[in-house]
C-alpha cells in the first residue's frame, strides 16, 4: 500500500476543527511534529502489503445480542438531569443552533 504523505500543519488545524478542538499556535506547532512522528512510526503498518487479509474490528466478536422486549426500570430522570449543565422543562438546554433567535 502506498504511504500517505507527511502530515502538515494545515491538516492538523483541519482535524482540530473536525474534532471540535481549538488549538493555540504553539499547540498546533507542537502537535504537528508529535503526530507526524507517531504516523512515521506507523509506516511499518501502512506500508505492508495486506491485500486479502480480513480486518478484525473485535477480537471476540459476538453478534445479534438481543434482550426480551420488556418494560424495565431505567435511570432516574431527575438524577440524570441533575448532572446536566443546563436544563429546562425536563430537557437538556443548549445555546442557539444555526442562527436561530436565542
Amino acid at each position: 500500500m502506498a504511504e500517505p504523505p507527511r502530515l502538515t500543519r494545515d491538516e492538523v488545524a483541519h482535524v482540530a476543527d473536525l474534532a471540535r478542538l481549538e488549538l493555540t499556535e504553539e499547540e498546533l506547532d507542537l502537535f504537528t511534529g508529535q503526530l507526524a512522528q507517531v504516523l512515521d512510526h506507523a509506516a511499518d503498518v501502512s506500508s505492508l502489503d495486506l491485500a486479502g487479509v480480513e480486518p478484525t474490528a473485535h477480537a471476540m466478536a459476538v453478534t445479534n445480542v438481543l434482550r426480551p422486549d420488556e418494560v424495565r426500570p431505567c435511570l432516574d430522570r431527575d438524577e440524570v438531569l441533575a448532572q446536566a449543565p443546563s436544563v429546562e422543562d425536563h430537557r437538556f438546554k443548549v445555546p442557539r443552533i444555526l442562527g436561530e433567535a436565542p
Binding site: F31, A59, A84
Partner: protein
Amino acid sequence: MSSPGPSADLAAAVRSGARSAVDVLEEHLAVIDAGEPEIHAFNLVTREQARERAAEVDRAVADGQDPGLLAGVPVALKDNLCTRGVPTTCSSRILEGWLPPYDATVVTRLRRAGAVTVGKTNMDEFAMGSSTEASAFGPTRNPHNTGRVPGGSSGGSAAAVAAGFAPLALGSDTGGSIRQPAALCGVVGMKPTYGTVSRYGLVAFASSLDQIGPLATTVADAALLFDVIGGHDPADSTSLNRPMPRVLSVLDDGVQGLTIGVLTEFLDGADPDVVARVRQAAEALTSAGARVEEVSVPEVVLGLSAYYLIAPGEASSNLARYDGVRYGLRVDAEDTAAMNTATRSAGFGAEVKRRIMLGTYVLSAGYMDAYYNQALRVRTRIIAGFDTAYRRYDALLGPTAPTTAFELGSKTSDPLTMYLSDVCTIPSNLAGHPAVSVPFGAGDDGLPVGVQLLGPALGESTLFKVAAVVEAAAPPLPAPVLSAGGRS
C-alpha cells in the same frame, strides 16, 4: 504451594467474626493518612461511605449472614469506574464534579461480595498514558521510589496496593494499563480475556480493547478478585455468555506437563536486567517441571503501531460525547458549536487532545484505508501469529515492560517514547487475550521488575497456575519505602 492471599485471610477473619470490618478499614485508613500525601494514589478517599459500608458488613456477620468472599476487604477503584453518587472524573477536568447515576457492574459485584470500597484512584486522563503524569490532578508517585512514576494508566491503583492503602484494586487495561503499572510498582496485575469482565460503567476509551481487571499483592488475591468480578452481564453487549474460567481452584496445580514459550520479540527491546529476570523465571518454570523453549511470534512487533492507530480511532469517537450538553463541564459560548469547542478545549488535557486528533485523522476520508483499516488487518495477523504459537505452547513468557520505573518528567515531552513503554503489553489487547504481570525481584536500580505471562482467549486457568509457580520462585523485593506498617 500458594497460600490464600492477604485478602482471603482478611475476608475469612471477618466472615468468622474474628475481626471486624470496621477495624480492618480503620487500619487501612491510617495507612492512607500516613502515606497518601506523598504518593497521591487517590483522587478521592470515600472515608465516610466506607465506614458505613464496613459497619453494614459487621452487622451482617452479627446477624448470622455471610457477606461474601471479600467480606470487609478494602478495595480501591480506578476513577474511570462509575460509582453512583460518588465523583468519577477519569482524572479529567471535563468530568470534574460529575456524579454518575449508576454503578458499574464490577462495583455492584464487589458490594455483593462484601467488599468495602475506599476510594477512586488517580490515572492518566481517560486512561491515556503510561505514567499517571497525564492526570489533571497531578501525578501519582511510585511507593518504591517517589522520584519515579508508578506506570499507568492505572498508576493510582497499582501504587495504592503497593503502599498498603488497600490490599486489592481494580484497574482497566486498554494497552497495558493494569499490567505495566503493576510491574513498575511490584504488584500482581491481570488483564482478563476480552468479554469476561463486564465493561458496563467503565468510562469508554477504546471499546474493542478495554478490559477491567484486578491488582493485588499476590497471585491468589488477584485470582479471588477475578472470580468475584467475572461472568456474563446482559448490560454489556460484548460480554461473553459462556462458562467463565474459574481460577481460584487451580492455583496449586503446578506446571508439570505444560509447555511455555519465551517470546523472543519481547526480549529484544528490553533492558538487560529485565531480560535477566525473565530468564530466571523461565529457569524456575523448568525446575518446576514445565518444558520451556524460546519462540518467535514475529507479528507482535507490529502491535505498537497498529495500537496507536486503532485505539485513538476508537477514542476519538468515544470522546465525542463530551460536548457540554448532558454532563460534566460546559464553557458557555454564543452558539452550540462554539460551546462544544470551548468546552472540549478547556476540559481535555494535552495527551487526550493528541489522541483525539490522531484518531480523527486516521479515520478521516482519504487516510482511513492506509491507517485504520490497515491496522485492523495487522490485528488479524497478530491473532493468527498467537494462534500458531498456542498450538504448541500453553502460555508465553516475557517482560511486562522493557524497563523498571522511570523518573517523573523523563518522557512527558516525547509521546512516542512514552508509548514504547507498552510495547510488550499491547499485543494481548489487540488479540483480546488474557495476560498477567507477576513481580519478580528487582532490576539493577533496586526497583521492581514484572514478568508477564500471556495465554490464549479464556486461558486464565493455565495463566494463574503458571503465575503461582513464578510467584513462588520470585526473588525478594525490597519493601516500598512508605508502607512499613502498611502491608497486612
